[in-house]
Amino acid sequence: MASSTAGGKAALERVGESVPFTRRDWGLLLVVPGVILFSSFMLYPIFYLFYISLTDATFAGSVIGGGAELTGLDNYVKLLTDSQFWTSMSVTWLFVAVSLVIKVFVSVGIALLLNHARVAGKRYMRAIVIVPLGFPAIFTITIWRGMFSDARFGVFNVVLGRYNELVQWIVSGIDAAVFFASVSAPQALLVDIPIGFLSGRWEAFFAYVVTEVWLAYPFMVIIIVSALQDVPRELNEAAMVDGAGYLHRFVNVTLPAIKRPVLFASILTGATSFQQFLIPWVFNQGGPARQNELIIVYGYREAITFNEFGLSAAILIIAIAFIGVFMYFAVKYGRLAEGVDDS
């Protein structure tokens, strides 16, 4: 018995030596099912998409029906010479950058407030402030479209109207008080309503950004709040004893301590912004005049509206590549994969 097990073991070891998989590697077995599932539902379609991008597929039917022919890199060449592609790329990056900057400021502000010693009921506020996370994006985005409605009776236009009234009221108050001079509301202070939020290029862009910020802030706030709670109190006190006032303490102690989590959240939400589809699509389908077509919308529209499936696939492959590159650098320089190296 003993000898046979020993023999079996030796044989096993011999087999073991021939494959690069040793007893220590059994952890791989725990990972493999996930990798397989992920690959078959995520990676495989990407490869397939890449294949489509090399064909002349025109509409969905030619993809599904198999009527497309390989055309090499034609689609990519076509794409790179299409001005709409460049418009789309630049507006996408602009959208990512602008919304990210605002997101960071807003979220840090909220998080600071919700972590401030003087705010009573912080825990409740923290629970409430992230409520938007619980609603489906299609719902909240549709609401925002309603809020940004071009309609003069849309929420923002009404609010701006109230603002105008307020300005005029104040000015007339001043006018009444300063009776020897006649004062009228300076035009610079008044807003020209209604603003067509969804029909002007920059107005629409602004609306996208606001909505994107609103969608992303809960996640950022949770992460920043957690980070703030981890800032050692002693560091703040050390700075206090060192003679630093609130602002200096914020810059020198708080900010550096939350830098990594903020960076982390920024990378994640930045990558999501890059793939934002619903906001432009629901708001005005990337309009007006395709000026705000974020990259995924562009790809989607090429496929669905213009029946350029091959081209659409090429766009999306490029978008995926961009995200990949973005994540790669983010991971590398943001040290996101820090945990990767230690075991």
């Binding site: 509409f59 969905a60 039917g61 030619s62 993809v63 599904i64 029906g65 009527g67 409605s149 071009d150 309609a151 003069r152 009776f153 849309g154 309503i193 209604p194 067509g196 969804l198 029909s199 309009g287 007006p288 005049a289 669905i304 509206t305």
Partner: protein
């Protein structure tokens, strides 16, 4: 989501049973067909009742489903995959676009399967359901935009453009929140009547020519510009309809789908044809609601083809159905007999008149490239960013580039 009732009540995972083997040995083969719709709730409810009536009469089975979302996108993926419906309901503007599809085809030419005489339908409707000699469906209603007015404010509906302007002048006072007109005037579909009033065509289907920059259209835009001054300062649909619905404007230009809502909000609602411009009737685009025949029928059983064609023929030619639809949903009949007959409800009558003056929306695929440039041109003119000639020239150029 509506499914045919299931004996076991599970309601899942049972698909159309296209051949209906069990039934085939009964008498004259009854078939089963699937139809997709995207309608308002009330419309859908009525349709369901009619289907039940039809099923009871014939023994055919019609599965009606509402896939939701954008119907054309659903079709784009479902038909090539072989999961598409046998028929669907939509306006006629997709006929051209789908008829040109090959490999796989999207539509089914039912010329040989249809028993009704096409002359039973109005000329416009007849044209709408055919493309390049193929018959791709049957029409059951048409729609277009026309003039609504508030009888409390307007005693006599205007016949001419000038009369209308006169009345609007009485009411238009934006500072007090009152306006002359509710009109999503930069939407080409809504604006088409005035733009084409002088005989110009945005897109000439016969000659395959873009007419956006023709002199006639430019002239039409001049009239439209007059109306721009009387509508709330932003031309979006919601802004516009609210002004009329809240009783703050004497006129609205809109379609029959608003009839139901507006009747509830305006006590004395009147509807009439659009007033003449320089003696010309505005030529609004009209849409023809139709049942499409899907390419699914080509591979399917003859019984399925029979089921769907029988139903569509029955539905589109049944006077009771058609006049009921006209009463309840403002559907403008396209059945020659009824249109002639003059016993339509007054409101529908007005729409029918306007359809008469109008032109069917072009169904050619090129039309897809026309809408957005024109809308943007109108917006630029509305915002005083560009004068009308330049705007239309630019739009025409953009369209030609895309085509």
């Amino acid at each position: 989501v509506t499914t045919e009732e299931e004996p076991d009540g599970a309601g899942q995972d049972d698909e159309t049973d296209p051949d209906g083997e069990a039934d085939s040995d009964d008498e004259a083969a009854t078939g089963q067909a699937m139809m997709w719709v995207d309608m308002l709730e009330a419309e859908e409810d009525d349709l369901e009742d009619y289907i039940a009536e039809f099923e009871a009469e014939t023994g055919h089975v019609i599965d009606k489903e509402a896939p939701g979302g954008e119907l054309d996108e659903q079709l784009e993926t479902a038909i090539p995959a072989g999961d598409g419906p046998d028929s669907w309901v939509w306006a006629h503007d997709w006929v051209g676009r789908f008829a040109v599809r090959e490999e796989p085809p999207f539509l089914y030419d039912a010329t040989d399967d249809i028993d009704v005489d096409l002359d039973a339908y109005t000329g416009a409707a007849r044209d709408a359901v055919q493309f390049d000699g193929g018959l791709y469906g049957l029409p059951f209603a048409s729609e277009t935009v026309t003039l609504f007015y508030n009888e409390d404010m307007v005693s006599e509906p205007p016949e001419t453009f000038d009369e209308m302007v006169e009345i609007m002048n009485d009411y238009h006072d934006p500072a007090a929140g009152e306006y002359g007109l509710s009109y999503p005037a930069t939407d080409p579909y809504f604006a088409s009547g005035f733009l084409q009033a002088y005989g110009g065509d945005l897109y000439d289907e016969g000659a395959h020519e873009v007419g956006v920059d023709s002199d006639e259209v430019k002239q039409g835009l001049e009239a439209l510009e007059t109306l721009f001054d009387y509508i709330p300062a932003d031309p979006s649909y919601e802004s516009q309809i609210v002004a009329f619905a809240d009783g703050l404007a004497p006129f609205a230009i809109n379609g029959p789908w608003e009839l139901g809502n507006l009747v509830e909000e305006i006590d004395n609602l009147g509807v009439t044809a659009l007033p003449t411009v320089d003696g010309n009737h505005p030529r609004t685009f009209s849409g023809v609601q139709m049942f499409y025949f899907s390419s699914m029928l080509a591979d399917g059983d003859q019984s399925t083809v029979d089921a769907i064609t029988d139903f569509v023929e029955w539905y589109t030619t049944n006077e009771e159905v058609v006049s009921n639809n006209a009463d309840h949903h403002g559907y403008i009949p396209v059945l020659e007999e009824l249109v002639e007959g003059n016993d339509l409800p007054a409101n529908v009558q007005a729409f029918a008149q306007q359809v008469d003056h109008g032109v069917p929306m072009p169904t050619h695929p090129n039309m897809d490239s026309v809408w957005i440039p024109v809308e943007e041109a109108l917006s630029r003119v509305f915002d005083d960013e560009q004068d009308r000639d330049a705007a239309l020239d630019q739009a025409a150029e953009e369209i030609r580039e895309q085509i």
